[in-house]
């Protein structure tokens, strides 16, 4: 049961990383703010500067 639980946690963590939810959580923690419309807009602005340069494979 413990292993299933750990596996499930990894799957969720992976999905949160792929879908940038983890990056947003880190942004909030770094900036010391709570989630809001403005905070998400600021995150997106910061994120796009690096994110858009990442290539996606064919």
């Amino acid at each position: 049961m413990k292993r299933i639980n750990a596996g499930w946690c990894i799957v969720i963590a992976t999905l949160r990383e792929i879908f940038d939810e983890a990056a947003y959580a880190r942004f909030l923690q770094r900036a010391g703010i709570v989630s809001s419309s403005e905070a998400y807009a600021a995150f997106r602005r910061e994120f796009e500067e690096g994110k858009v340069r990442r290539p996606k494979c064919c």
Partner: protein, 680 residues
């Protein structure tokens, strides 16, 4: 595991793998079950990972679990971040898995299931996985440097410049081909066009939801978007059955090409948060889900492959694309076996997330194995169809004719029986008016996937829904590559132009954004337009061009890797990268030679131009001649550039091995990790 048990287990895996590979390789006549391919692939990957990657890790790379990675040393909470290895694995796989491993194997299935399967298995284990693994590790040891930076540092300025130009060239050719695949999949298909059109407002809705209603809840909104996309697929059926609505969403290839070019320009020039980022999330959500579902479907249904092991088209007369099995099978399938593009990802985001050097093996080698498994699934999807149907879908009108009866008669005369009634029934079952001449691989893959899904879930009644689900999945996937690729190419161009005139390098300066976007979109838009107007369907000339460009980038990556291995005083093991490098040089240079100078006008660009010049002059003749000469010139340019890198690399190797040059690697200095103590 004790030694005796290990020998027993791995001995069994090797024996089962050998039987499966032998069955796939030597079985002739009767159809073969797809499960043989699955077992052969699973055993090859398991053995490759357990033994070959371990050998490379221990003897060449000497992975050091005590050496701090850039994720630890440079951690900033943004780009550099210590991340769980499984999370990095998933992230890396999501970035390398594109439409390539789906489309390439479907096209190469014209040779039969055997050549593609063998190349995908051997290519991945001995070349693709190795490339991704070593480039990832070398980037980790260099603070996450990109391939172009490593090429400049280790080979010299020529290497860096060529890698840079090759990346831009590949991006442009790739985007042109990708757009062409979407055009061929959606032309005259109101259902498909409606579904894809609906992803725009769905993405807008997701963008607003993310920004205003539930900020940052991406997984939640992606699941919601997915449900809406399913509703759009269901609604598409209604659109296709309503004459008035169907007319609204029925476009010719030329109109679709113009729409995609306009979309590409908007995607590059506009802010991304509202439309593009949500579409990217939606595409990733659908992609991961569908690949998993397809894997389960194949194992559960284990369908029979109707395509023979080898077809008569190994002689180079194939209707899907012209050219002999060597070298064309090996450039047609790139991403499932080895893809130079992966070297960009392995030296991009991933090295900045790796917590321990020892994890590069699982992430680099392991993720590429999964990509290769996707290619095996694509081969199965293409080969479950009756061969006559496969060729009717994938052959251009210029080869088999426009009229259904004539096309069916031509294909049947090749030994692959199909009737106009069969094709009409299939088109009806999937909700299309016709399935003839749907070149590009996507519709054929969709038919195969729909066949597998409908046998597993829902039966024949759901065939049309599954077909359009598969079509939507591929088109959404490809359009996301188009969005991201156009922006990446634009940024690269801006970086370069910034050296000429500083404001041009500013990514927020609108004149520069608009100018560079227009340049990049015009470049791939030209290739798209060329493909749409090509009487041979476009894929015949553009997909090999893309394959050559992609494999030439892999050549550059393997040159970098070999140079570093020699500098690390591991020259006696250099064959690990040198052997795939030699194979790729043989394949790409032979293919380039054929594409430029082959006297057969279906293969050689210049021969095609000559035939056009000698034939009757129409309004399009001059443009077609120019296009063929342009394709020949692009191929020649790529070959010359990669030759320069090979010569430069060879000089480095000779200099070091003969003691003339000092073998000095440009790694970051060793810093002991703190993570071991923290964990311990």
């Amino acid at each position: 595991m004790n030694k005796t048990l290990a020998i027993l287990v791995w001995g069994t895996v090797a024996a089962v793998g050998a039987v499966a590979v032998a069955t796939v390789a030597v079985h002739r006549g009767e159809p073969i079950n797809a499960l043989w391919l699955v077992v052969a692939a699973t055993c090859c990957y398991a053995l490759g990972y357990r033994f070959y990657s371990k050998f490379i890790a221990a003897n060449i790379l000497a992975l050091d679990g005590l050496r701090a990675t850039p994720a630890e040393r440079l951690e900033n909470g943004r780009d550099f971040l210590v991340t769980n290895k499984w999370v990095v694995f998933g992230h890396h796989f999501a970035a390398i898995a594109g439409p390539g491993p789906l489309v390439g194997p479907v096209l190469a299935a014209q040779f039969g299931y055997l050549p593609g399967t063998m190349w995908v298995l051997a290519g991945a284990v001995f070349a693709g996985c190795v490339q991704d693994f070593v480039i990832l590790l070398f980037s980790v040891r260099r603070d996450g440097k990109s391939l172009t930076e490593m090429a400049k540092d280790e080979i010299g300025r020529v290497g860096g410049f060529v890698a840079y130009v090759a990346v831009i060239a590949i991006l442009i050719i790739l985007l042109g081909v990708a757009a062409l695949i979407v055009v061929n999949a959606l032309k005259s298909s109101p259902w498909g066009t409606f579904t894809i059109a609906m992803t725009m407002p769905i993405a807008l809705l997701m963008g607003v939801y993310l920004r205003r209603i539930r900020p940052g809840k991406v997984l939640e909104v992606s699941a919601l978007g997915f449900v809406l996309v399913l509703a759009a697929i269901w609604g598409g059926q209604y659109v296709s059955q309503n004459a008035e609505l169907a007319r609204l969403f029925t476009f010719s290839a030329s109109t679709l090409a113009i729409l995609i070019i306009v979309y590409g320009f908007a995607a590059s020039a506009l802010p991304v948060w509202l439309l593009l980022a949500p579409r990217d999330y939606l595409s990733t959500f659908v992609k991961l889900g569908t690949i998993a579902l397809l894997g389960v479907g194949i194992v559960a249904l284990h369908p029979t492959l109707h395509m023979p092991a080898l077809t008569r088209f190994v002689d180079g007369t194939g209707p899907v694309f012209a050219g002999k099995i060597f070298p064309f099978a090996f450039i047609t399938i790139a991403c499932g076996a080895i893809s130079g593009f992966h070297a960009l990802i392995s030296s991009g985001t991933t090295p900045k997330l790796i917590a321990r050097e020892t994890e590069t093996r699982m992430v680099g080698y392991g993720a590429m194995m999964c990509e290769s498994a996707v290619a095996v699934m694509a081969i199965i999807a293409a080969c479950v169809m009756q061969p006559g149907i496969y060729f009717a879908i994938n052959s251009p009108a210029g080869i088999v004719g426009q009229a259904p009866a004539a096309a069916a008669a031509t294909i049947s005369s090749w030994g692959f029986p199909v009737t106009a009634a069969d094709m009409q029934a299939l088109a009806h079952a999937v909700g299309e008016q016709t399935l003839y001449n749907r070149t590009g691989g996507a519709p054929a893959f969709a038919v195969g996937m729909a066949s597998i899904f409908s046998h597993s879930l829902g039966g024949e009644a759901l065939m049309a829904l599954w077909y359009h689900f598969a079509l939507m999945f591929e088109a959404l996937f490809i359009l996301t590559v188009l969005d991201a690729g156009t922006r990446v190419a634009r940024f690269m161009l801006q970086d370069a132009l910034g050296h000429v005139y500083r404001p041009l390098g500013r990514t927020s300066w609108y004149p520069s954004i608009l100018g560079t976007s227009a340049l990049i979109v015009s470049a791939w838009g030209y290739f798209l337009w060329q493909g749409v107007k090509d009487p041979l369907g476009g894929i015949n000339s553009l997909w090999p061009l893309f394959g050559i460009a992609n494999q030439l980038l892999a050549t550059v990556a393997l040159c970098v890797a070999t140079t570093i291995i020699i500098k690390m005083h591991r020259a006696k093991y250099a064959a690990v990268t040198l052997a795939p490098l030699a194979w790729l040089v043989a394949v790409t240079f032979t293919a380039s030679g054929h594409k430029m100078f082959d006297p057969n006008p279906r293969v050689g660009f210049l021969a095609q131009a000559k035939v056009l010049a000698a034939g009757p002059v129409t309004g399009a003749t001059a443009r077609l001649i120019f296009n063929n000469r342009l394709d020949a010139a692009v191929t020649a340019m790529l070959v010359v550039m990669v030759t320069l890198v090979l010569v430069e690399s060879g000089r480095q190797w000779w200099g070091i091995l003969s003691g003339v040059k000092e073998a000095r690697v440009k790694e970051s200095p060793f810093v002991r990790t703190r993570l071991v103590e923290e964990q311990g």
